[in-house]
């Protein structure tokens, strides 16, 4: 529309054919520039892949932008010589436990926030917003002490509980957003037909909220999968590490096995990134509904 107006105006001034060509050239240049920017933005992804495949050409100057040979040696090595499989399993366990736990709790709290307007739900809403402002390190230092006292330190279940607590506020807020979009009339109809209020929630509203439930489950799974800081603090022994922590162990004082590090990065990042790109659309509308309005 805008470019149409633009070209329509210039058309009056210059000859029609010339200005059409000018407009085309300008939009082609803009398009090329956009592509160039996109290429620069995703270059780190490309470099991660290339470096994970090029164990022989890695340490060369100038660096080879297009690898001369491709080898999967690094992938083989990280699974045979390093504990990547153990860390991957731990990560999957923690992320699954986190997301199941988080979703179940968030469904109920999100429903209450969406359907009950009162002093208590209002206070809880403020509680959630406030929790997003707290400095994580000030929480983690006492949490470390508390976990040691409770025997949760260095356990995967402890880590999953801590992860869930950090994700819960956002998960609840997202869930509330999804419930807000389901009309309340259906529940009221079900109650007239003899359903209890809880029954109306679980049997009528919840099935309709399944897309939202999937997004919240995926969101908490990804966040639990990616998490590094709590895992670094609350887990001590190598056999209990998650992959995000294990990844940093490839860096030693004097040398880094970059091909292995990048191969492990691919293994670690790919499932989370793919998942994230699928649900990203729903996340943005949920997370920005407060920030962008009319």
């Amino acid at each position: 529309m805008r470019s149409f107006v633009n070209s329509a105006r210039t058309m009056g001034a210059v000859s029609a054919a010339g200005s059409a060509r000018l407009a085309f050239l300008r939009s082609a240049a803009a398009f090329a520039f956009t592509l160039l920017c996109a290429g620069l933005v995703i270059f780190p992804y490309y470099w991660m892949f290339v470096s994970s495949l090029g164990s022989s050409s890695l340490f060369e100057w100038p660096p080879r932008i297009i690898p001369s040979s491709i080898s999967f040696k690094a992938y083989e090595k990280i699974f045979t010589e390093r504990a990547v499989l153990t860390w991957l399993t731990n990560t999957a366990v923690v992320a699954s436990a986190t997301s199941i736990f988080c979703t179940i709790v968030a469904i109920n709290a999100g429903y209450a926030l969406s359907r009950f307007r009162g002093k208590m739900t209002g206070a809880f809403g403020i509680f959630i917003l406030f929790s997003q402002m707290l400095p994580a390190t000030l929480i983690v230092v006492p949490l470390y002490v508390i976990f040691r006292q409770l025997g949760l330190y260095n356990t995967l279940i402890g880590l999953a509980i801590a992860d869930a607590a950090f994700i819960l506020p956002l998960a609840t807020w997202l869930m509330k957003g999804f419930f807000d979009r389901i009309p309340i009339d259906l529940e009221e109809q079900a109650q007239i037909d003899g359903c209890s209020r809880m029954g109306a929630f679980y049997r009528v509203t919840l099935p309709l909220a399944i897309p939202g439930l999937v997004v919240v489950t995926a969101f908490s799974f990804i966040t639990g999968w990616d998490e590094f800081f709590l895992a670094r603090t609350l887990i001590a022994t190598q056999s209990n590490w998650v992959l995000s922590v294990g990844l940093t162990s490839f860096e030693s004082q004097y040398s880094v096995a970059w091909d292995e590090m990048m191969a492990a990065s691919v293994v670690f990042a790919l499932p989370a990134a793919a998942f994230f790109l699928v649900i990203q659309r729903y996340l943005v509308s949920g997370l920005t509904s407060g920030a962008v309005k009319g």
Binding site: S3, V5, A30, T34, C37, V41, I42, Y45, W47, M48, S51, E60, P62, P63, N108, A109, Y111, A112, R115, F116, G118, M120, T121, F124, F127, I128, M133, L134, P135, T137, L138, I139, V140, V141, P142, L143, I146, A164, A165, F166, R197, M198, W225, D226, F228, F229, T233, S244, W258, M261, M262, S265, F268, A269, A272, A273, L277, Q280, T288, V292
Partner: protein, 305 residues
Amino acid sequence: MKRDPSMAPRPSRATPFDWMPVWLIAPAGIIMAGLLFYPIVRGITLSFFNTRLLRYSEGQFIGLANYVALGSDPAFWNSVSVTFTYGLATMLCTYGLGLGFALLLNREIPGRGFIRTLFIMPWAIPEVVAVMIFVWMLDAQYGVINYALVEAGIISAPAAWLTSAGLAMPALVLVTSWQQFPFAMLILLAGLQTIPDEQYEAAMMDGAGVFRRFIHVTLPGLRAVNVILILILILNSFRRVTMIYAMTGGGPARATETLSILTYNVAFQYQRIGYAAAVGAVLLVILLCFSLAYFFLIARRSEAP
């Protein structure tokens, strides 16, 4: 009794107290209270004690001594300035990239959905992986960024980004804004789409060029979004730990030690968790001031028609 169909059943004076929302909220409330708010309270309490990590039970109440000591601690003041430098620099770069790419995407271009996804991809990557890729790309010997900069004539020889005090912060800002700009971009894109086309057309009728249209139509149209986005970006960078900790751990020579990282290092490297809690409490106060500004702005906006 007439029921308002748009409202959920709620207790009136005649009905007894409604327990249902209590049961629904209780699990989330207990978890958040126990694992987020109780530690904060305990952290603030700790800041009045001289507790050390390994001899936790021997900590003694020392009143405000930790806070007094902060005042004359050069590491603390260094962290205050590093925090604001990092916050401001990441905010500017993230916002700049976000706005630039939002403007590029806010046009009718072929394959817009696909290109949009390409631009969002950095946001999808785990922070630790983003850090590792950039540490590799910035490598002093074989780093591809060093190569590109040397080839472009910007620097004369490959630089050791992460081990020189002056270069670690720019490197950190680079990773942070690469990973975070898609968030800003999406919010700004949504904001751009609320600016009516007629305003651009009117500006064009007045003979305004691209630049003047940007200054007089685009920026004012984004004002409401801008204020909140900028505050969120600053708040997030004040609170950020994973990225900084994984990339530099606060070094070299404290050049990237924000208050968040200082809290962590004092607690776990120097074992002084009482003192660390005092640093964290100062950060909490700073964050609360910014948050109050945020809530104030949100409240004022929702009152506006």
